[in-house]
């Protein structure tokens, strides 16, 4: 259905996202940090990016800003994962260009609901 990029330095989070979204019919691409994520985004068309904020090499905020500069990523929804569910972080990420967020820890249903909200068939 949709091609979704998950960017996280924790393989278990990426795995969890993959395990939840693939049965729902999405194809999931993984990247271990922001730089890898940006490379993957440049390589092909994506329908959604789910990224962590705290990552090595290039963090989530930088990734979001970089993605928003890509012509191919205009209007592409970007969701960030955050543990600090405080408004300051959200505000920062949103003004960087993020579309929505998911607060960790999240349940599979929550992830699916957010994806369904942002990705249309």
């Amino acid at each position: 259905m949709a091609t979704i990029l998950t960017v996280d330095d924790s393989p278990s989070i990426r795995q969890m996202i993959k395990v939840v979204l693939e049965p729902a019919g999405h194809s999931v691409i993984e990247a271990g940090d922001g730089a890898q994520g940006l490379a993957k985004a440049q390589a092909g068309k994506l329908d959604l990016v789910i990224t962590d904020l705290n990552m090595p090499v290039m963090n989530g905020l930088e990734l979001i800003k970089a993605l928003r500069k890509l012509p191919s990523a205009v209007g592409m929804p970007i969701v960030f994962l955050t543990t600090e569910s405080n408004d300051a972080v959200k505000q920062e990420a949103k003004s960087a260009g993020a579309t929505g967020w998911i607060t960790k820890p999240f349940k599979p249903e929550q992830l699916l609901a957010v994806v369904a909200k942002l990705v249309r068939a």
Partner: protein, 699 residues
């Protein structure tokens, strides 16, 4: 059109809706789980109710409303439509129909009784009172409460699209909460040269008809709450107690179009919500909505809007008039062509050809406009079969195919009675009773197939049952008893079966209330032949009977073969012509034995010169035209075959009603008249000659 009484338009619309309703109800009997059918029945009901109220049929509106309410649990899928329920629903339909068509003929008591019945069936597992109320409105329907919904005003920040949020998706999500009426506000849109294509300039005004929590709405906009201005106010009251969103019509949503501040650029809403706007135009009292015919498919209602635009309702007489004019034009054109052909003026010839081309395409178009799918007729028989099958306790499955097959509307009207008779016969005499069927190893349920199919310039309509078949011995015995044939005469089964079409011929041992009245098979045959059609039946003992009606596509203009006999010219309908051969000297010699040898098959022939008592010497080379009605072939010997002729049929005057071998007349290009030969009569005539010969030879 404008002269037409709007009430009349409503009556016409209603009668089409009744067909949809009846069709859906009867289908429900077969497929009680089909939600589509339930929905289609409700859509029809709802339209009847809505329009009824608009045209002053208050009783119809109030009864239909009660009916709808009582039937609501079926719609919600809480109870299955049982046979009893369907019977009551059919009765209710008849009552509503009576209210519309002839209010004097019925009484409120009938309506009350029907509603009581309905409530009793519906509430068999629940007190009746609970049923009549619409307490459990479906989740999508507006709820009867003080607060009936929300009024939202949405204003997004212009960069919202760039950040991956799509306001349209959000509106979609909003629509999932309940029926929404969404109007985009376009006044923020700048001039084109100032516009950034990635910015969002639209604002939306949304009426959400669902008493959901504010939290649910906040949830929809959770990611964008800081990037938008959301003005939220409760909606005071739902405009009308609309029972279900699917049926929302304009008359229940007071002119939502008026609220639109600006033209609609994008409306995003559930289909329900858009509907009132879409319905707004074709809905005024004198709406030009129409089709030439009704299509009884269950989905017909769903397509209403498109058809309303694509079709125009025309009075039947106007089409008849148009056909007459086209007929005259074709005749005039034939004269012109003849005149042009006899002269040498090339330009006149060219014009004549052009007019010929135009006239023939005009003829085809006009005939096409008169064509009606036979399905509208088939639909009527479902009720007949339902009732007959119940009255005779013979369960019958009714299958129709080829409903799309088109026939001239006059033909459709003429076909109704013969088909009713044939179907009655099929159930009453054809299908055996359950015990006999079981004993013969057949399925308990009988089967009647009604099919229509195009075959060349003809349409074949067949009524087929899987009953016991015709009892040839009994027909023969009866024919002998009535002196129609000599005892011991050698006849094929097919010939014996033809006696069924003899006036006054009936083998029914007891005359039942069903088959004993109305038209007989001879009348069926005559009606079909009057339409220049033919009727034929075939049967297999123990397997059933098939009656085949062959009908011309139209009654008004036919392709004919123009022939000459002596001085007179005649038309043979081309559809009956099988082939034309020369009458050989050898055939000519076999005087007294009126048979031709056509590729080893003996075909009786008639000399039209003798029948027409033509004067003068016959042409040296006589031609034979082989005509047929179904199985039977007959040769007609003529002087000359002139060629094809577009035959505009004019009926003969009443003075000539006893003339049997002609079915009508036409006017030829030179202004003279030509008579149209009645093929069925000629075939019968030839056969009776053959029989006489048999008898005289036997003697």
């Amino acid at each position: 059109m404008s002269a037409m009484d709007p009430t009349e338009v409503f009556r016409q619309e209603a009668s089409e809706l009744f067909e949809v309703l009846e069709g859906a109800l009867l289908d429900l009997g077969q497929r009680p789980d089909d939600r589509e059918l339930v929905d289609s029945a409700f859509r029809a009901l709802h339209t009847i109710k809505g329009s009824g109220a608009m045209f002053g049929f208050d009783k119809v509106a109030s009864f239909t409303h009660e009916f709808e309410t009582a039937f609501d649990r079926v719609r919600k899928g809480e109870i299955k439509p049982t046979q009893e329920l369907i019977s009551v629903a059919l009765a209710a339909k008849d009552y509503i129909r009576a209210l519309i068509e002839d209010p004097q003929s019925t009484d409120d008591i009938i309506g009350e009784a029907i509603l009581d019945d309905l409530k009793r069936f519906v509430s068999s597992d629940r007190p009746a009172a609970g049923v009549a109320e619409i307490v459990e409105a479906p989740p999508l329907a507006p709820v009867h409460s003080k607060q009936a919904g929300w009024h939202l005003y949405l204003e997004f920040e212009s960069h919202i699209l760039r950040n991956g949020s799509n306001p349209l998706d959000l509106l979609d999500d909003l629509c999932k909460l309940g029926p929404c009426f969404v109007v985009p506000v376009t006044d923020g849109i700048p001039f084109l040269d100032e516009m950034d294509p990635e910015d969002c300039y639209l604002k939306w005004d949304v009426k959400l008809h669902a008493a959901c929590d504010k939290a649910a709405i906040d949830d929809v906009f959770m990611f964008v709450s800081d990037e938008m201005k959301l003005t939220l106010s409760p909606l005071e009251q739902v405009e009308a107690p609309a029972p279900a969103p699917l049926f929302q019509l304009l008359d229940e949503e007071p002119a939502p179009v008026v609220e639109m501040p600006t033209p609609v650029v994008e409306v995003v809403a559930a289909p329900v919500a858009v509907e009132p706007a879409a319905k707004a135009e074709p809905k005024p009292a004198v709406k030009p909505e129409a089709k030439l015919e009704s299509k009884p498919e269950a989905k017909a209602e769903a397509k209403r809007d498109d058809r309303g635009i694509a079709t125009v309702r025309v009075q039947a007489e106007r089409l008849d008039e148009l056909m007459d004019r086209v007929g005259e034009l074709v005749i005039a054109q034939a004269r012109l062509t003849q005149l042009a052909a006899s002269g040498s003026d090339l330009s006149i010839k060219m014009i004549a050809e052009e007019i010929e081309r135009l006239a023939s395409s005009l003829r085809d178009t006009t005939m096409g406009a008169r064509m009606v799918p036979i399905g509208s007729l088939f639909g009527r028989f479902r009720r007949l079969i339902h009732d007959l099958s119940r009255d005779l306790s013979k369960p019958v499955e009714f299958v129709t195919t080829g409903e799309d097959t088109e026939l001239d509307k006059t033909m459709i009207e003429c076909l109704a009675d013969p088909l009713v008779h044939l179907i009655r016969n099929a159930i009453d005499h054809g299908i055996e009773d359950t015990a006999t069927r079981m004993a013969n190893g057949k399925t308990e349920q009988g089967r009647i197939e009604l099919a229509a199919v195009h075959s060349g310039a003809q349409v074949l309509v067949t009524v087929k049952d899987n009953g016991g078949g015709l009892n040839t011995a009994r027909i023969r015995a009866k024919a002998e008893e009535q002196g129609l044939i000599a005892a011991g005469a050698v006849l094929t089964d097919h010939e014996i079966h033809q006696f069924l079409f003899h006036p006054g011929f009936s083998t029914a041992q007891t005359i039942s209330a069903l088959s004993g009245r109305g038209v007989g098979m001879d009348v069926v045959k005559r009606t079909i032949e009057n339409m220049r059609g033919s009727i034929d039946l075939s049967t297999r003992s123990g397997e059933g009977t098939t009656v085949t009606l062959r009908l011309p596509l139209t009654l008004a203009i036919i392709e004919g073969l123009l022939i000459r006999v002596g001085e007179g010219r005649y038309i043979i309908p081309l559809s009956a012509v099988e082939e034309c051969i020369e009458l050989t000297a050898e055939d000519e010699r076999s005087r007294g034995r009126n048979f031709l040898n056509v590729r080893g098959k003996l075909v009786p022939f008639l000399k039209l010169r003798e029948i027409m008592t033509a004067s003068g010497t016959p042409d040296r080379h006589q031609k034979t035209i082989i005509i047929s009605t179904g199985e039977t072939h007959v040769g007609l010997v003529v002087d000359q075959i002139i060629g094809n002729h577009q035959t505009v049929i004019k009926s003969l005057s009443k003075l000539h009603s006893d003339v049997t071998i002609f079915s009508g007349a036409t006017i030829l290009g030179d202004g003279t008249a030509a008579l149209i030969l009645d093929v069925a009569q000629l075939v019968a005539l030839a056969q009776s000659k053959v029989e006489k010969q048999h008898i005289s030879e036997a003697a």
